[in-house]
């Protein structure tokens, strides 16, 4: 026998024990093997299967036995008695005979039970049935003093299952009962016998020799080197194991990190600004008139405590003039009396542009390329499309030669790196940019364009009061909408529900694949 054959013939201890047994005692039933080796029949079956696959033993179906248990109807009969028994008892109590309608009105047996009872009582010769007038008359012919065979079978089965083959003289009663609907449940159980093959008979004895096998490799075995003298037990590599789940980052954080890395790669520096913001920075500095609908209570969260803050004094005066009459920016202004009180109100910022404009007011670095990904708020009723709190991806680029086509270029590049390669730009309107544009991305699996964000060049009314003379390219893109697309989620609320089933199903590699292949 070659070394390789020997490898193949590596036997599991159970296989070895089973095979040794049938080699010494001849073919045996699985149940007999199980009894002799004190293991369960299932384990024997498994060993038999392995041995068969190695050509060492042959399982064959030797016989079939029938196992009986009580059916639903049988369970009722065990409780109440067979219908035929109840019928003769009823007849007996009525004086030995009665008409069908009398028995019916006595109400001892239901209509179906009565019919069944009549049939079997008649077959058993317990009663006779005759027509009398318009009715049927039943009379006891022979009252069964002792239990019938049928009743004995039910008695036996009341204690558990039994094999038909073990029932001896009661077998005909079993067969009779099994023909009655739902009284007995009979299942066939095949009995298998395992026979050693010729190959098994010629096996070298060392294969069958009891050897110590290693289940778990231990430090002691390694240190002593004793593992060399032993065999490793082979495992069932298909056996199920207890699942393990890796803790994960939240998909939104993962996405935010990804987007941050893209803007860093594109040479932008990250900034951050306040969430509770002065109306001044959120609206006024962005040339949003004080009666603009976006500033109304049903769009913007205002604070009741603290209710107001302090807008920068010098800049407020300048911004107020711009709103009034253009304040020397070349604009006509909105033509109304600007109120510093309105600008002092505190809001939850409605866009991250409040942060870029703050940064623009304080930074004299040129050229300037900054971005922020952060939370914003809208006073809206939350539904599957709208959230009251969400994130924006915001950025500005300030440079002497900055222009609209470059702005489109940055946005196109960003989405391409997110795997969304088909974009289009449409004219749009924001009070603080001109020209303005909206970006749509084409979503292949939806077959449609999805609106993902706005952009534009800050108006001189916005930049000149801050002393900024260069064009400022600005954009604000929705994060959640992008997240829904990339994560295959339909309901925006899912992102903040933190359901562990959803969180733990997040597959960051799949997201990478989407990003790379588009």
């Amino acid at each position: 026998m070659s070394e390789q054959d020997r490898e193949e013939l590596e036997l599991h201890p159970l296989e070895r024990r089973v095979l040794s047994l049938i080699l010494s005692e001849g073919p045996l039933g699985f149940d007999e093997v199980a009894a002799k080796l004190s293991v369960n029949v299932g384990a024997v079956a498994k060993a038999a299967e392995w041995l068969a696959s190695k050509g060492l033993a042959e399982p064959s179906k030797a016989s079939v036995t029938h196992v009986m248990t009580l059916g639903e109807e049988g369970l009722v009969y065990v409780e109440k008695g067979l219908p035929e028994r109840r019928l003769v008892e009823a007849l007996r109590s009525m004086g030995g005979e009665a008409t069908l309608s009398q028995i019916e009105s006595a109400g001892i047996l239901g209509k179906d039970e009565l019919n069944i009872g009549i049939i079997w009582a008649k077959k058993n010769g317990w009663i006779t049935v005759s027509k009398s007038g318009g009715d049927v008359r039943l009379r006891i012919e022979r009252y069964p003093d002792s239990k019938s065979d049928d009743e004995l079978v039910l008695e036996i089965l009341k204690r558990g299952s039994a094999r038909l083959e073990d029932m001896g003289p009661l077998q005909p009663a079993c067969e009779r009962l099994s023909r009655r609907p739902r009284v007995l449940r009979v299942s066939e159980v095949a009995r298998y016998v395992l026979t050693p093959t010729k190959k098994a008979l010629s096996l070298p004895p060392e294969v069958l020799a009891e050897k110590e096998e290693i289940t778990q490799l231990t430090p002691e075995l390694l240190i002593s080197g004793a593992w060399r003298e032993k065999r490793f037990r082979r495992y069932d590599v298909y056996a199920p194991v207890k699942p393990v789940q890796a803790a994960r980052p939240h998909p939104l954080t993962h996405l935010i990190q990804l987007i941050k890395s893209i803007f860093v790669e594109l040479g932008f520096e990250e900034i951050q600004g306040p969430l509770v913001e002065l109306a001044f920075w959120n609206f006024d500095a962005l040339f949003q008139p004080q009666d603009h609908p976006a500033r109304e209570m049903h769009d913007t969260f205002y604070l009741s405590s603290p209710a107001t803050g302090e807008p920068p004094r010098e800049l407020s005066a300048k911004v107020g003039k711009v709103h009034r009459d253009g304040g020397g920016t070349g604009s006509r202004g909105w033509g109304y009396e600007w109120s510093v009180e309105e600008a002092s109100r505190l809001v939850l910022r409605t866009h991250t542009t409040a942060t870029t404009i703050r940064h623009l007011a304080q930074s004299s670095k040129r050229p300037l390329k900054v971005f922020t990904i952060d939370r914003v708020y809208r006073n809206e009723r939350v539904d599957w499309r709208r959230l009251a709190e969400f994130h924006q991806v915001e950025g500005i680029l300030v440079d002497r030669n900055a222009n609209l086509r470059q702005l489109m270029g940055i946005i196109k590049e960003f989405y391409a790196r997110m795997g969304l390669r088909k974009v289009r730009f449409r004219p749009s309107y924001f009070p603080y940019t001109e020209p303005s544009a909206e970006v749509d991305v084409y979503v292949e699996k939806k077959g449609s364009w999805v609106e993902l964000g706005g952009m534009g060049i800050f108006r001189p009314e916005v930049t000149l009061p801050l002393g900024v003379r260069e064009p400022v390219l600005a954009w604000g893109l929705g994060l959640e909408r992008l997240a829904l697309l990339l994560l295959d989620v339909n309901d925006a609320r899912t992102l903040y529900q933190n359901d562990l089933r959803w969180l733990l199903s997040f597959n960051p590699l799949r997201l990478e694949r989407v990003r790379v292949s588009g």
Binding site: A247, T253, K260, G267, P274, L275, P367, L503
Partner: protein, 553 residues
């Protein structure tokens, strides 16, 4: 955003050529409208509020004709003289000081035209009028009107007339209290105790702006002479609304007539409508540099004329005439955008800027990333909750007996009335939401809380916190303490626990994390009363650390 439905047959008729729904959708998008729905014979679009003139199909068709080069430049709009005088009494000054009127004749308005006009009127009420507060429009059948007219403010019970939608005479007071339209707009006149009224020479009431018109001058299909009154608190907006309506009616074949508005006792009189165009001078180099294309004066002129603006070259500059219905041109940059749209955004090739910048993350972002890796490494899954929060949950349920530092004035949903000051309540909510999922559960959050800070101009500042919880049948202080100690080693902050009781921890099973005498966090087993308040029936141990106080992030 305001919306309008563009009917294929109607728009095609105004444009003069048959258009398909797809062509209409493309043209609308090219003009900056957002296409909501392309139907079988109509296209639903939303338009931006800077273009209230897009509120009627006639005016949208006017813009389409420019892009299709069927008509270029601004149309000719003028108003003839008339003898109609509107006397404005001083009594309106404190209520609704401005009025502008016009008469349009030679009309033959069908049902569709009238329906269009009503849509336009409603949109103007909203966009320019801020829900009629700033501007309100009345449309009247002129055959019922006997000029001269008077615009005055009267006592609320001083006058009676039959308002539209009613069959009986009512006083302004009754209208404000009982008529559905009156009740809807009563807020505009609140506290004024005066009703602005437009009367004709026989004493007939035309309207009670900004609330409702009189039934006297109600419009019916076939009306040929239309009288328009626009009243409001902002004279510029009042005139803009009138101009948009009158130019639309001229496009429908009408002939406009001016009215003389005489402000009594103010020595002031004006003729309305004023349909003259506004002159601007645009330097083509501004357009070239902002758009990023070398544009000649000729290119600029052509693009502007496609946008239905008058434009001609003069000594290297472009002289632009802006028609009276365009209310969105405030600065030459607005004309630059007109040039860009005239060229077509789809024709502007995106390019990457060459502007150099050194990319960098905020130090805080990097620190948070490291902490996140750390928590993940210890088998905690990350959650993200909103900063918008709820006083009941964050304070009452947590047994914290104080008011939130920041309160929201006007939340639409009662779910939100404050901003979070701790992350822990959010994590407990997450555990409740996950109570059907397998245990043990280990969650963490790295996020902002917002606290009041009166030294800052915005009176609040954000602080970064780290919080984590374990939840299972034997969750305990010691289990979480082991995790906390590992985190503290990261901050080089060993041996910083100090036994302390917190309302939300079981007494004797809580501790503060202290650095140089300052509490920077806490850890403990959540009190069963708190768990009960949240509806959580599984033990929880929780920990929260203020990273900003630690100077970590």
């Amino acid at each position: 955003m305001p919306a309008i439905t563009l009917r294929v047959d109607r728009v095609s008729r105004f444009v003069g050529i048959q258009l398909s729904t797809n062509q209409i959708a493309d043209l609308a998008a090219a003009l900056g409208m957002s296409v909501e729905e392309v139907g079988e014979d109509e296209v639903k679009v939303e338009y931006n509020p800077n273009r209230p003139d897009f509120g009627s199909q006639t005016s949208v068709a006017r813009a389409f004709k420019g892009l299709l080069e069927i008509e270029l430049g601004a149309g000719r709009y003028s108003a003839r003289a008339s003898r109609i005088v509107v006397e404005v009494e001083r009594s309106v000054e404190s209520v609704r000081p401005y009025i502008a009127c016009a008469l349009v004749r030679s009309l033959n308005l069908g049902e569709e035209d009238i329906a269009d006009l009503i849509v336009l009127q409603e949109d103007l009420h909203w966009i320019l009028g801020r829900d009629r507060r700033k501007v309100a429009i009345g449309l009247h059948d002129y055959s019922k009107v006997r000029p001269p007219l008077t615009y005055r403010a009267v006592g609320l019970s001083e006058i009676r007339f039959i308002p539209l939608g009613s069959y009986q005479e009512m006083t302004p007071r009754q209208i404000l209290a009982e008529h559905p339209t009156g009740r809807k707009y009563a807020w505009i006149l609140q506290g004024k105790d005066l009703a602005p009224i437009i009367l004709d020479s026989r004493g007939g009431v035309l309207s009670f702006p900004p609330i409702i018109n009189s039934s006297l001058t109600e419009l019916r299909p076939g009306v040929q002479e239309l009288f328009i009154d626009v009243t409001g608190t902002d004279e510029k907006a009042v005139n803009q609304a009138l101009n948009i309506l009158v130019t639309t009616l001229i496009d429908l074949g009408g002939v406009a007539y001016k009215t003389l508005i005489r402000y009594k006792g103010r020595r002031r009189q004006v003729y309305t409508p004023d349909l003259s165009s506004t002159k601007w001078i645009l330097d083509p180099s501004l357009a070239s540099s902002l758009i990023g294309l070398e544009l000649s004066t000729g290119d600029v002129v052509r693009a502007l004329r496609r946008m239905r603006l008058d434009a001609k070259a003069s000594r290297g500059k472009v002289i632009v005439g802006v028609p009276p219905y365009r209310v969105d041109i405030l600065h030459p940059v607005d004309l630059v955008e007109e040039v860009a749209i005239g060229l077509g955004y789809q024709n502007l090739e995106p390019v990457l800027p060459e502007t150099v910048g050194i990319g960098a993350l905020l130090p805080a972002s990097k620190a948070l990333d490291i902490l996140r890796q750390f928590m993940l490494g210890m088998g905690f899954t990350e959650v993200v909750n909103t900063t918008l929060s709820n006083t009941e949950r964050d304070f009452s349920w947590m047994l914290i007996n104080r008011e939130p530092g920041i309160k929201i004035l006007n939340p639409v949903s009662i779910m939100y009335d404050c901003l979070r000051e701790l992350l822990l309540p959010g994590l407990l909510s997450n555990l409740v939401a996950n109570s059907k999922n397998p245990y043990p559960q280990r969650l963490f959050e790295l996020g902002d809380v917002i606290v009041r800070n009166d030294t800052l101009p915005e009176k609040a500042c954000r602080e970064r916190h780290l919080a984590f919880v374990v939840c299972h049948s034997t969750a305990s202080f010691s289990e979480l303490k082991a995790v906390l100690e590992e985190v503290l080693r990261l901050f080089e902050l060993e041996n910083s626990l100090s036994a302390r009781d917190y309302p939300f921890f079981i007494p004797g099973r809580g501790a503060a994390v202290v650095r140089e005498g300052v509490e920077v966090g806490f850890i403990g087993e959540i009190h069963p009363s708190v768990l009960e308040n949240f509806g959580l029936y599984m033990p929880v141990a929780g920990c929260e650390i203020n990273l900003s106080l630690l100077g970590v992030a």
